[in-house]
C-alpha cells in the first residue's frame, strides 16, 4: 500500500485492502471454473464436436459438477511420498498465482484500481512466478515416482529458461515506461500501446508466457502421452484441482500482465476500465486456447534450443533496440529512462 492512503489510519487501510481482495478473489475463483468450461467449449468448437452439454443448459453447470466431484473424491496420499512437501506443492502454485493478482491494475483510480498499487509491481510479479516453479519441482520430487520426477525435471529446466526471456521482454517495456509500477506502465501507454512500440517484445513475452504456464505446445512437464501426467501423476481430488486451478489462474494472470503491459491495460473508449481489461484478457485467453487446439508438442531439446538460442538472444536484441529507440526519440516515449 502506498501513496494515496498512507495518511489514513491503519485499520482503514486494512479494511480497504480486505474489501478489494475479497471482491477480486471471489470473482476469480468463481470465474475459473467457467473458464475451464469456456476452454472446453472453444476447443470442441474448433474440433467440430459439441463439447460438454449434459449438466444444465448448454453444459453451463459443468463447472459445478466438476468441483463437486473433485471435492467429494477420496484424498489419496501414496505411502511412498514425502508427505509435507507433497501437500505443500499444490498450495504453493495456487497461492503464488493468487497473490500475483494483487498488482494488476483494473482502473486508473490509485486506491481502487488495484489491490496493491505497488511501486515494485513488476519485480513482485517476477518473484512470485519464480516461486511458482518450486511447486512443480517439489510436486515432482516429493511424489517419489519415476514419471513425476521426469516431469518435475522438465518443468524446472523449462520454467527457469523461459523466465529469463520473459523478464527481459518485460524489462524493455519497463525501460519505455520508466517505472516498475503497473498502473504507471498503463498510464505511459496513453499515446501508443506498447504492442506498437514493442512488437518483438510482445511476441517474446507471449511465447514465454505459454511456456511459463506449461500449455501446449510447451506442456512437456505434464505431457500425458509421454509421462502419463508428469509432475502431478500421483495427485488426486482437491490437490489435483489446486494444480488445475493454479494453471488456469496462471494463464489469466499472464494474459492480464500482457494486457496491462502491451495492450494498454484498462484503457479504451466508452466502456469502463475493468470491462476493457476483461475483454483484453478474454481475447488473449482465446489465443491461448486456439494455440492449444492447433499445435503438437515440442520435444524437450527443441524447447531448450528455442529458449536459449532464439528467445533469449532476441530478448537481448529487443532490449538494445528499445534503448536506442528511447535515446533517439525522446518524444515518442516521454517517460522512458534516459
Amino acid at each position: 500500500m502506498t501513496g494515496a492512503l498512507s495518511n489514513e489510519p491503519l485499520w482503514y487501510q486494512l479494511l480497504i485492502a480486505v474489501i478489494k481482495a475479497s471482491v477480486l478473489m471471489g470473482a476469480l475463483l468463481g470465474v475459473t471454473g467457467w473458464l475451464v468450461l469456456a476452454e472446453r467449449k472453444i476447443i470442441a468448437w474448433l474440433q467440430g464436436r459439441p463439447g460438454p452439454n449434459r449438466a444444465g443448459p448448454m453444459g453451463l453447470f459443468q463447472p459445478v459438477a466438476d468441483v463437486l466431484k473433485l471435492l467429494t473424491k477420496e484424498e489419496s496420499i501414496p505411502p511412498f511420498v514425502n508427505k509435507i512437501l507433497f501437500i505443500a506443492a499444490p498450495a504453493i502454485i495456487t497461492i503464488t498465482a493468487m497473490v500475483s493478482y494483487a498488482i494488476i491494475p483494473w482502473g486508473p483510480n490509485p486506491v481502487w484500481g488495484a489491490i496493491s498499487n505497488l511501486n515494485l509491481g513488476v519485480l513482485l510479479f517476477l518473484a512470485l512466478s519464480s516461486l511458482g516453479v518450486y511447486s512443480i519441482v517439489l510436486a515432482g520430487w516429493s511424489s517419489n515416482s519415476k514419471y513425476a520426477v521426469l516431469g518435475g525435471l522438465r518443468a524446472t529446466a523449462q520454467m527457469i529458461s523461459y523466465e529469463l526471456s520473459l523478464s527481459m521482454a518485460l524489462l524493455a517495456a519497463v525501460m519505455m515506461a520508466g517505472t516498475l509500477n503497473f498502473q504507471l506502465i498503463v498510464e505511459a501507454q496513453r499515446p501508443f500501446w506498447f504492442i506498437l512500440l514493442q512488437p518483438l517484445g510482445f511476441f517474446i513475452f507471449f511465447v514465454s508466457a505459454i511456456a511459463e504456464s506449461r500449455r501446449t505446445p510447451f506442456d512437456l512437464p505434464e505431457a500425458e502421452n509421454e509421462l502419463v501426467a508428469g509432475f502431478h501423476t500421483e495427485y488426486s481430488a482437491m490437490k489435483f484441482a489446486l494444480f488445475f486451478l493454479g494453471e488456469y489462474m496462471g494463464v489469466i494472470l499472464l494474459s492480464g500482465i500482457m494486457a496491462t503491459v502491451y495492450l494498454g491495460g484498462y484503457q479504451g473508449p466508452i466502456l469502463p476500465g475493468p470491462v476493457w481489461m476483461i475483454l483484453k484478457i478474454a481475447v488473449l485467453f482465446f489465443v491461448f486456447v486456439w494455440i492449444r487446439a492447433t499445435y503438437p508438442r515440442f520435444r524437450y531439446d527443441h524447447l531448450m534450443q528455442i529458449g536459449w538460442k532464439w528467445l533469449i538472444p532476441l530478448a537481448v536484441l529487443n532490449l538494445i533496440i528499445t534503448a536506442v529507440l528511447c535515446l533517439t526519440f525522446p518524444n515518442l516515449v516521454p517517460n522512458a529512462i534516459h
Binding site: R154, A293, P296, Y300
Partner: protein
C-alpha cells in the same frame, strides 16, 4: 543427439512404459533404461492380449473361423476377413464371383483408408496435437457408416464369406462411397495443413527413428514400415492377388523429404499418400463394378479342402498378412498359422530406439502403427 554427455556419470533409471500407458496403443509394455531423458535400451514385452487365435483355428470349421480373424487386427477387420477367405479359396480351389471380388477390393481399400486415418489421428495425439484425432475420426465415421450398412457391425465385421460376401453392396452404399471419396480429397488437404506440414510436427518426426532399408528387410518389416524406408514393395503390385492387377495406382515410398529416408515422417507420409491411392482404386472399382451374384452359391457350409498346404499373403494396412493353412481333408484346418505384420514391425523397435529421447520413443511407437490384438493374436 548431437551433444556428447558421456562424461556425465549418472545413474540409469529403469522405466516401465506400459502395459497401461497412454501412447503404447494398447497393452504393450516397453521396459526402457533411461539416462535422464535419453533412452539407452528399450525392450518390448508382448503377450498381454494373447488369445490362442491360431490354436482355436484347429477346432473350428473354415467359415466359423472368419469372426476370429476380425479380432486380430481390429482396425482392419475387413482386410483380415478377406485375406482369410482368399487363403481358403486358394487352398480349396473355390471360385468367387466377379462382383464379389470388386466389392472386396472397394471395401478393402475403404478399410485401408479407415485404418490409416486412425494411424494419422493417434499419431497426432501422440505428438500432443488433439485436433487431428477428431478430424480423422470424423471421416472414419463415414466409412464405418458404409460398413454398418453392409453388415450391421461397426468394428468386427465378419463380412467376408468363403466364395463371396455376406451381403451385396446396394445402391445407397455405392452412393455413400462415392460421396465419401469425393469429399475425402479436400479433407486430406486439411490434414496436411494441420499436421503434416506443421513445423513442430516435422521437427518431432524428421530424422527420428530412422530405419535403414537393409535393417527393415532383415527384420521382416512390411507395409508402410518397409515402404517408408524407400523399398518399393507392395503385394498388390508385386504379387497381385484378387483383381488388383486391373487397377492403376502408385506405390508411395519414403523419399526423405523432410529428413532421412526411413524416418518417422516418411512412414507417416507413406500412410498419408496411400490413402490417396486407395481412393483412386475405389473410384476405378466403382466405375467398373459388374452386375451379378455376390456369393458363389455352390459353396456349402462345410468345406473340405483336399490334402495340402497354402501360404497366402495379402497387403493389409499394416503390411503383409499371411495365412499358412494346412489341410488334411477335414472340415477343420489341421494347422493355421498367421504371419502378423504388426508383430514383425514391432520387433524392430529396440533397433530404432537406441539413444533417442523419451518423446522420440512415443513418436517411434506411433509411427510403427501397431495393433496389439494382431501382435499377440
Amino acid at each position: 543427439m548431437t551433444s556428447d554427455t558421456s562424461y556425465l556419470k549418472a545413474d540409469e533409471m529403469l522405466l516401465n512404459m506400459g502395459p497401461q500407458h497412454p501412447s503404447t496403443h494398447g497393452v504393450l509394455r516397453v521396459v526402457i533404461r533411461t539416462d535422464g531423458e535419453i533412452i539407452r535400451h528399450a525392450t518390448p514385452h508382448i503377450g498381454y492380449l494373447h488369445r490362442c487365435k491360431e490354436k482355436i483355428a484347429e477346432t473350428m470349421t473354415y467359415p466359423q473361423y472368419i469372426p476370429y480373424t476380425d479380432r486380430m487386427d481390429y482396425l482392419a477387420a475387413m482386410s483380415n476377413n478377406f485375406a482369410f477367405c482368399w487363403a481358403v479359396e486358394k487352398l480349396g480351389g473355390i471360385a468367387t464371383t466377379e462382383r464379389a471380388e470388386y466389392i472386396r477390393v472397394i471395401v478393402n481399400e475403404l478399410q485401408r483408408i479407415a485404418s490409416h486415418l486412425v494411424a494419422f489421428g493417434t499419431y497426432g495425439l501422440d505428438m500432443g496435437a488433439f485436433t487431428p484425432f477428431l478430424y480423422s475420426f470424423r471421416e472414419r465415421e463415414s466409412i464405418i457408416d458404409i460398413f454398418e450398412r453392409l453388415c450391421g457391425a461397426r468394428l468386427t465385421y465378419s463380412y467376408g464369406r468363403i466364395g463371396g460376401l455376406m451381403r451385396d453392396l446396394d445402391e445407397k452404399s455405392i452412393d455413400m462411397t462415392r460421396r465419401f471419396v469425393d469429399d475425402f480429397d479436400t479433407k486430406w488437404d486439411e490434414y496436411n495443413d494441420l499436421l503434416s506440414n506443421n513445423e513442430i510436427f516435422i521437427k518431432r518426426t524428421a530424422n527420428v527413428g530412422v530405419l535403414p532399408a537393409d535393417v527393415a528387410i532383415a527384420y521382416g518389416c512390411t507395409g508402410p514400415m518397409l515402404r517408408g524406408s524407400g523399398v518399393k514393395h507392395d503385394l498388390r503390385k508385386d504379387d497381385p492377388y484378387s483383381i488388383y492387377d486391373r487397377f492403376e495406382f502408385d506405390v508411395p515410398v519414403g523419399e526423405g523429404k523432410m529428413g532421412t529416408v526411413g524416418d518417422c515422417w516418411d512412414r507417416y507420409w507413406v500412410r498419408m499418400a496411400e490413402m490417396k491411392e486407395s481412393s483412386r482404386i475405389i473410384r476405378q472399382a466403382l466405375d467398373a463394378l459388374p452386375e451379378g451374384p455376390y456369393l458363389n452359391q455352390k459353396v456349402g457350409r462345410i468345406i473340405k479342402p483336399a490334402y495340402g498346404e497354402i501360404y497366402f499373403r495379402a497387403e493389409n494396412p499394416r503390411g503383409e498378412l499371411g495365412f499358412y493353412i494346412v489341410s488334411v481333408g477335414e472340415k477343420k484346418p489341421y494347422r493355421c498359422s498367421v504371419r502378423a505384420p504388426s508383430f514383425c514391425n514391432l520387433s524392430v523397435l529396440t533397433e530404432m530406439s537406441h539413444d533417442t529421447l523419451i518423446a522420440d520413443m512415443v513418436a517411434i511407437i506411433g509411427s510403427i502403427d501397431i495393433v496389439l490384438g494382431e501382435v499377440d493374436r
